[in-house]
């Protein structure tokens, strides 16, 4: 059983506190969804977790092992994968080369192709020429090949057609069911709450809701209030 535990985490940007005193956990085999309006601090939280920006205070632990001081590459080797917002493919490399960059001892391209068979036909195509949906599949596949314990995905549905979003959501659920701990950040709530277990809502960098996904899904008014701060 792996888990990510976040304790009293605060992160600043340009000296201003953007994320304050966050407590959260993501357990193996489950999906924790982080919701919040544009600018609430979701991306900042993930960037602090993966080490792109430094944290001001608090701790981040994977299986009890603290990683908040490690560099991003080291956190990746500790089992934390971050799929950034905006589909950060290597545009000059082919689909398969993109995945090969992430290969580790014991990981195999067939796992990635098993999850997203669509990518198999596109394996020799330059990743910059893939569709948005294919690029999103590629960055998730690439993260998986690092053999993570915890997978964090930022806004994977942004700008994609609903049928592709459902396809991606199903794939992410499958990964959690296979034992991965997933932290899913979304601005648009319904689909994410549909596949998630635990939900956190952020407003101005603070957790204003911490509970299960079903409760929120059943009361859209409550969710609306949380977003806007009623």
């Amino acid at each position: 059983m792996s888990e990510l535990v976040i304790s009293s985490l605060s992160i600043s940007r340009s000296e201003l506190p953007v994320v304050s005193e966050i407590n959260a956990r993501v357990e193996s085999g489950s999906i924790s969804v982080v919701l919040g309006a544009n600018g609430a601090g979701k991306t900042t939280l993930l960037e602090g977790l993966s080490g792109i920006i430094p944290v001001a205070s608090g701790t981040i632990a994977i299986d009890g092992h603290e990683i908040q001081k490690a560099r991003p590459g080291q956190r990746s080797r500790e089992g934390l994968a971050h799929v950034e917002q905006g589909r950060t493919i290597f545009g000059q490399l082919t689909t398969e080369e993109n995945m090969k960059v992430a290969l580790r001892d014991g990981s195999d391209l067939s796992e990635a192709y098993g999850l997203f068979p669509e990518l198999l036909q596109r394996r020799t195509v330059r990743a910059g020429l893939l569709s948005g949906g294919e690029q999103q599949m590629l960055v998730i596949a690439r993260a998986l090949l690092t053999r993570p314990k915890v997978l964090m995905i930022d806004e994977m549905s942004a700008g994609l057609a609903p049928v592709i979003v459902s396809r991606l959501m199903a794939a992410v659920r499958k990964l959690a069911d296979a034992g991965l701990a997933v932290l899913l950040v979304e601005q648009f709530a319904a689909l994410a709450l549909g596949i998630g277990n635990r939900a956190y809502v952020l407003r101005r960098g603070r957790v204003v809701y911490d509970g299960d996904c079903k409760t929120l899904l059943r009361s859209p008014d409550e969710l609306h209030k949380l977003y806007l701060g009623g």
Binding site: S76, G91, V101, R104
Partner: protein, 289 residues
């Protein structure tokens, strides 16, 4: 006929050096996104290590190896400064930093090597390789051009066929995304700096005997090198190679015409100006559409 051919061929050795330095500049730019003004100065450091060793009586061959290692080490040092403190800076800031480092390296280099008095540089590869249309082609020119071609071919193979090469291409495409999936970004960047430092040093060792070597003149060979890199638009290894050789030949020709030979070192600037103006015209053309 020979009155043109002789100086043109005499320019080949310089051309080969410009080409190799230019290809190294393109390599550095493409992989670690730095327009590097210190390239030739790094090579000068290694070359002067060789001079110091041979002057103190050490045999030539081990001194050459030691010099190349010094060049690689200075390259790694500059690379460390760039990756440690300027990794996040934009490309014009990085270029400005390397220009500042160049000034620093020249100052230190001149101080350590006895100022602008030329030093005795062992001619590593004296003599001529073969005759072309009745003109001697020196071993030095064959070697520098050969080394430039070798570096181009090797980097192509290395980048496209090896795992480290794949990581380097990912790094040059998106450094942060590469780091997030565990690519050892800093280590690879230092490797690039070290390798180009070593190759540059060897190229300068070959050409130095023909150049009354003082630390400054050798370091300023970065100007024709960057002119060659510009001909390849900092992308194409082969165009850079051709640009460097051509530049050497044109310089050789210019030195045979009395009225312009005094100005031949301005030729790289003319090339830089011409390429920049031409690429500006392209940009304006794109905007107009």
């Amino acid at each position: 006929m020979n009155s043109f051919l002789t100086p043109a061929i005499a320019g080949l050795a310089a051309g080969g050096t410009y080409a190799l330095l230019g290809v190294c500049a393109v390599f550095t730019y493409r992989l670690v996104a730095v327009v590097n003004f210190t390239g030739a100065a790094i090579g000068s450091a290694g070359t002067f290590a060789l001079i110091a060793l041979t002057e103190s009586g050490y045999p030539t061959f081990p001194s050459v190896i030691a010099g190349i290692l010094v060049g690689a080490a200075v390259g790694v040092l500059i690379g460390f400064i760039m990756t440690r403190w300027f990794a996040e800076a934009n490309s014009s800031t990085k270029a400005a930093v390397t220009a500042a480092l160049l000034v620093g390296l020249i100052a230190i280099g001149l101080r350590l090597t006895g100022g602008q008095h030329p030093r005795v540089m062992p001619d590593l590869f004296p003599g001529s390789a073969f005759r072309m249309a009745g003109v001697e082609v020196t071993i030095a020119s064959v070697l520098t051009i050969g080394l430039a071609v070798l570096f181009t071919v090797l980097s192509d193979l290395f980048l496209n066929r090896t795992r480290i090469g794949l990581h380097l291409r990912a790094l040059s495409d998106r450094p942060l995304a590469a780091e997030l999936i565990g690519v050892k970004v800093r280590l690879l960047s230092l490797l690039v700096w070290g390798a180009t430092g070593a190759f540059t040093t060897f190229a300068l060792m070959i050409i130095a005997p023909q150049r009354s070597p003082n630390f400054m003149t050798l370091s300023l060979l970065v100007v024709p090198a960057l002119a060659a890199a510009l001909v390849g638009l900092f992308r194409s290894f082969w165009l850079t190679l051709a640009g460097g050789i051509l530049l050497g030949v044109v310089e050789g020709l210019a030195s045979s015409v009395d009225s312009i030979s005094q100005y031949r070192s301005a030729i790289p600037f003319l090339v830089i100006l011409a390429v920049l103006l031409w690429s500006q015209r392209e940009a304006r053309w794109d905007e107009a559409r």
